[in-house]
């Protein structure tokens, strides 16, 4: 009965002072939204990052460190130390432990975006996120030697559509002067946005890549030795080497055995990495700042709670008469103190609920726009246990903060005489 009375009184009192308290609640709501948002994005971005590649069991490249191999094969950052001979790829393909493999050939670029030479197995086996396959936003995968499929961001930034003609540049960098002008490519399709480096890459067939490099053996085009598209289509364009190979293992238990076998491959020095592990390692390097961001927003919430306490203490002076009435009617100092506790916790709960609504509304509105414009995939999902814990810590902190005005009210009302003025 007393608890219900305290609750009724506290809520009525909050409503009575809603003008002043709305502003404090707004501050608290925004700071909780910030805190929750940072934690939400933190785990989402980590999730997205560590599943940049999924479904691939091993990535094979020339002998190098795992991070380096991961950076150039998946993120298209930096260059390979060496290539893998095509004969090695053919031998790997014969290994019974290997279910499928996807050759990747890197080196050229288009307007600063990396060109990836591959074959149709890429579309069939490449997975990202939660086992999602690549989708075409328009057109179809390359069928001709001079077909190219663009990543979502490439198409958007360069405003390309199926049927457009593009000229690839030799080597990386956005201002390459050496272009494969005599063999332009035709855009056959555009990929849907994935939120991974795929969005920023350009996909051609291995044969296409081979064709435009005939006559470029010395690093520049030798006049008379390059092929016209018509000539190229006549020739056998099997590449002599590729940069990396994505491997799917038949039985997952054999992954480590296969990794060891590839690392000890006798014909040339190779490395094989497990992409999940390498991605986690890379995230550990990159993910430090987001932790600091979380701490900062934590402090923002504490600041708003201190502000809330200051307002409650300021309101206390106005509440002497009200406390005197309640005391004279028989309310104990404990009941008076509990009003402050309930009011403060109720305010933080309101702030938490508003923050959840604000965050959900914000994500719903901004999510599609983020994916289209920045390739960041953030959707609505149920909160995980850490996020609930962070959310629950806000009313708990509110309770701790309310102890100060509550104790003051408790001891004050013990010594207050009849009437507010004594």
């Amino acid at each position: 009965m007393k608890a219900r009375l305290a609750l009724t009184l506290a809520l009525a009192s909050l409503w009575h002072r809603r003008g002043v308290l709305a502003l404090v609640s707004l501050t608290l709501t925004l700071s909780v939204t910030l805190l929750l948002g940072v934690q939400y994005l933190r785990s989402d971005i980590r999730q997205a990052f560590t599943s940049t590649v999924s479904g691939t069991d091993l990535i094979v490249g020339a002998r190098s460190g795992p991070i380096n191999l991961l950076l150039y094969s998946v993120f298209h950052i930096g260059d390979a130390t060496n290539n893998i001979r095509w004969s090695t790829v053919e031998e790997l393909a014969r290994d019974p432990r290997i279910d499928w493999l996807v050759p990747l050939s890197l080196g050229d670029s288009y307007e600063g975006f990396r060109v990836v030479g591959t074959d149709p197995s890429f579309a069939a086996h490449f997975r990202y996120g939660r086992d999602q396959a690549l989708q075409l936003a328009e057109g179809h995968w390359f069928s001709d030697t001079f077909d190219v499929v663009l990543g979502a961001e490439v198409a958007r930034r360069k405003n390309h559509h199926s049927g457009d003609s593009v000229v690839l540049a030799h080597g990386g960098g956005s201002t390459s002067f050496m272009k494969h002008r005599d063999s332009p490519f035709r855009v056959s399709g555009v990929l849907a946005a994935t939120g991974t480096p795929v969005d920023r890459a350009v996909y051609v067939s291995l044969q296409g890549l081979e064709a435009i490099h005939v006559g470029w053996e010395s690093g520049v085009a030798l006049p008379g030795r390059t092929l016209t598209p018509a000539q190229a289509r006549q020739r056998d364009l099997t590449p002599s080497s590729v940069t990396a190979v994505l491997v799917g293992v038949e039985r997952k238990v054999l992954t480590f055995q296969l990794q060891r076998a590839i690392s000890q491959y006798r014909d040339e020095p190779l490395s094989a990495i497990l992409p999940g592990i390498a991605l986690s390692e890379l995230w550990r390097l990159l993910g430090q700042f987001e932790r600091i961001l979380l701490y900062i927003t934590g402090f923002v919430v504490i600041t708003s709670l201190v502000g809330l306490m200051a307002v409650l203490l300021a309101l206390q002076a106005q509440r002497r008469q009200e406390v005197a009435i309640l005391r004279a009617t028989g309310a104990s100092p404990g009941l008076i103190a509990s009003l402050y506790l309930i009011e403060c916790v109720a305010l933080t709960l309101v702030a938490c609920v508003l923050a959840l609504a604000l965050g959900a509304a914000g994500l719903t509105l901004v999510g599609p726009w983020l994916l289209d414009n920045y390739g960041i995939r953030i959707g609505l999902r149920p909160l995980d246990s850490t996020e609930w814990l962070i959310l629950a810590s806000v009313p708990a902190a509110g309770l701790a903060v309310a102890l100060i005005p509550a104790l003051r009210a408790w001891s004050g009302s013990r010594h207050q005489g009849l009437g507010g003025s004594d």
Binding site: M1, K2, L5, L9, A12, S13, W15, H16, R17, Q321, E322, A324, I325, L326, R327, A328, T329, G330, A331, S332, P333, R414, Q416, G417, L418, G419, G420, D422
Partner: protein, 237 residues
């Protein structure tokens, strides 16, 4: 200082003691002088007029009677119980069960409606709730009606009520659940003469119907004729 003066012919139905104090004294702090008060005796259903100039310790005496402060010296018996040596939690409970209090002004909790203000004692004390017949809300309604608060005012914000109306709502709250004693601390000082007389008549009539004793503090001697007894507190220098 005049002792309790029993007026002849004012015997009430019950002769039980509502209030009895002996050698009451109180000190607000260690350095403060000891305030002493005249001995009081009051039978249930009888009304007492406490008169004294400002600074004579009227409010302090009321704080002691209400149990908000513990007397430094002396004894205080209320309804046959020694309340002067009880723990503060017990005194709070005793006040909730047996006392109604009316202040000079600002009597109402600002964020509760007039009706909710009247119901407050029945929510704080199971005994008062039990005594409120037939139900707390029905009793509150009949009290508000008797005290001439129009029904359309019951749910309004208290700030929209006149001071006279606020004081009458406070009287209804003090009376609800039939407490044995009502302590009124200059409740009419903010009212004009018409309102003042009407307020006192209504309060005393309703108190009589409930056999409730009213201890009424005022500096206005013109009100003394409404009461069975009067005690004067001396001015202190």
């Amino acid at each position: 200082m005049t002792g309790p003066a029993h007026l002849p012919g004012q015997a009430t139905q019950s002769t039980a003691t509502a209030l009895q104090s002996r050698n009451l004294g109180f000190r607000w702090g260690r350095q403060q002088p000891l305030l002493t008060f005249p001995d009081l005796d009051l039978q249930t259903g009888e009304h007492l007029f406490l008169h004294g100039p400002s600074g004579s310790g009227k409010s302090t005496l009321l704080s002691l009677l209400a149990g908000l402060q513990q007397p430094t010296t002396g004894e205080l018996m209320m309804l046959g119980e020694d309340v002067s040596h009880r723990a503060s939690g017990d005194r709070d409970r005793f006040r909730a069960d047996h006392l109604g209090v009316i202040f000079q002004q600002f009597n109402l909790v600002p964020y509760l409606t007039p009706l909710a203000n009247v119901l407050l004692p029945t929510r704080l004390s199971p005994l008062r709730r039990q005594r409120a017949t037939p139900t707390p809300t029905a009793e509150a309604a009949s009290l508000l009606g008797a005290l001439a608060i129009a029904e359309d005012h019951w749910q309004r914000p208290v700030s929209q009520l006149s001071i006279g109306q606020q004081q009458r709502v406070a009287a209804a709250r003090a009376l609800t659940g039939a407490p044995e004693i009502i302590l009124a601390d200059e409740p009419t000082s903010a009212l004009d003469a018409d309102n003042r007389d009407r307020f006192i008549e209504l309060l005393l009539t309703l108190a009589k119907a409930r056999h409730t004793s009213v201890i009424f503090v005022s500096h206005d001697l013109g009100l003394a004729h409404h009461f069975h007894h009067q005690v004067c507190l001396e001015a202190r220098t």
